[in-house]
Symmetry: C2
Subunit: 348 residues, 2 copies
């Protein structure tokens, strides 16, 4: 006898990227963290918090944080829902919109959590394969007629971004919700925020984990029209965003200058790393994110991954169809990237 | 047409206790916060965290925090699962164990979130009424044969605690999971942690929100045998506990002296407040928690609640059957409690 639901018994949990053992010195290019520190203004707020901020329950709606976001993005504050990371907003969407046997559609490879969250709801995954160019398979997605359709833009692990026009057209063909997951948007040339003004069935997700260097804080948000957010509020954990994340996150989001300056540095390093890998005959997919998807001329991804790991450099190897010859490398500092390319040369 | 599941459309979301407007001066005795500040050692850790702690993803399992808990409670570390508040662990239990039409049983009145979380899962609530003495209706609960049975001990809003023997007997009669929610245990004379050693179907929940004065931090945990926790891991948000909460919480939990000293102060104030209310002819239920359930001789709970609110004192009034003549008052400092009883005298 089991204490768990059948779908839970069957599923394998999501496995987060490897974490180095505490004290271990590694170059960590496997989970797309920003190599630069968060805004000093955010740290100043962290260090100014007193016991009173911790003693009381936080604002259930993280209003102060949402007001800063509303001002920066020029959307009304009630178009924003805050989450304990954007993963939390993904969870809200699935719990509100997907029941047993309801369909969830997305192109693969993409963020594996979409599958995990669908399985938890006992929903049905429709996984449309991307081609080698990672163009959006809009027809297949639209024909899936899903309760929820996910598009990560920029997508992981490909780094591909999709245009407002493409996603607007897709949203118009869907009866269900279109989730545009913009976790990596701070490193892209454009964004799709404008879609939420055009379409009542679109929610755009953002996170402070990447561009704002705050992966440890767990803070993200969704932007959508209030009618869509109303359903998500019902399934939201009452106090999902803690007082520290709300206060520190507000200061970090207000400091757009710091975020943009770091993103520019990452983008310059990305171009250099792409050139260096290309010079080594690697294929590198064009990326709008803070990572590169790459294939060695030998297609020996696992060997390179293991060789680098043995030397203290973590990158991401996905042991799954269509990706087992490729590697995803987070763009680090120029020094880290040089150490990486040097180590690859030694391994080969 | 709706974007949401039918059960979500139908339900009303959980409404957290009222929060004062920022800057408003109130005496807040409505959401069971601890009136004393958290451990200075916890604040020291908060203020020592640097950008590196925020930049990286946190440990998905909050191992450092769990090790401190394991040592203090003398249970193996893999018997502990950490959550973004104990509400998060409640959510994991429901998502892992309860699907559409599965039964969830609990005695009412109790923590309203049990109902909300069941509705989100499209489960079926069996609500067994407590009598006026809030004795555990063990037979009715056992006969409900639920997938998940909740007992809050001490219970809110009654303050009643149940014995290890009572809950052990109940667990033995259940095929499903028994959740013993010990959110308020730090103010009680005993606890039921030993049950997890005796019963594989029991999970005991704890929070740092009350005894440790860290409601703003969102940190709680469950203790159970590893086979039960395995299912919960699958539905856990990947990085549910942020790096700040894990580090600050570990320091706070290690400082048992600080927690116990504050709990003793609260217990002494509770006895005094109970005596003062009784002297005013209020009925006061015996409480093992940091609040008192009380009824005025006139049964005019709403009037007193509104009168106090107008004067800047927040207490909890539940506009629901069986509770509409009663009030729940968080035990504050002696000064706050004296202000409360003084204000009640003026209102009457």
């Amino acid at each position: 006898m089991s204490y768990f639901r059948e779908n839970i018994e069957r599923m394998v949990g999501y496995v987060p990227g490897e974490q180095p053992i505490a004290g271990e010195r590694v170059i960590k290019l496997n989970t797309n963290e920003n190599p630069y520190p968060p805004s000093p203004k955010a740290l100043e707020i962290l260090h100014s918090l007193d016991g009173e901020a911790l003693r009381r329950y936080p604002d259930p709606l993280a209003t102060r944080f949402r007001k800063v976001v509303a001002e920066v993005l020029d959307v009304p504050v009630d178009w924003i829902i805050a989450g304990n990371g954007s993963d939390d907003v993904l969870t809200m969407i699935l719990r509100a919109c997907v029941g047993p046997d309801d369909t969830v559609a997305y192109a693969v490879p993409t963020y594996v959590l979409y599958r995990t969250l669908t399985q938890i709801q006992a929903g049905r995954c429709v996984e449309v394969p991307y081609g080698e160019d990672y163009a959006l398979p809009a027809d297949s997605l639209a024909e899936s007629a899903a309760a929820v359709t996910f598009v990560a833009s920029p997508n992981s692990p490909s780094g591909t971004a999709y245009s407002v026009e493409q996603l607007d057209a897709l949203a118009g063909r869907l009866d269900g919700v279109l989730v545009v997951d913009e976790a990596y948007v701070d490193f892209a040339d454009g964004d799709c925020l404008d879609l939420v003004r055009r379409r009542e069935n679109v929610i755009v997700l953002r996170t402070l984990s990447k561009g704002y260097s705050l992966a440890g804080l767990r803070l993200g948000f969704g932007v959508a029209q209030p009618a869509l957010l109303e359903g998500l509020q019902k399934v939201k954990d009452s106090y999902n965003v803690d007082a520290v994340a709300a206060a520190v996150g507000a200061a970090a989001f207000a400091d757009q200058y710091h975020k943009n300056a770091n993103a520019e540095k990452v983008k310059i390093s990305r171009a250099k790393l792409q050139a260096d890998l290309t010079a080594m005959d690697f294929r590198v997919w064009p990326s709008q994110a803070n990572f590169l998807l790459t294939r060695s001329p030998e297609g020996d991804a696992e060997r390179i991954y293991l060789g680098l790991k043995a030397g203290g450099i973590f990158i991401r190897y996905f042991n799954q169809p269509g990706l087992d010859d490729k590697l995803r490398i987070t763009v680090g500092t120029d020094e880290q990237n040089a150490a990486l390319t040097g180590a690859i040369k030694e391994i080969r």
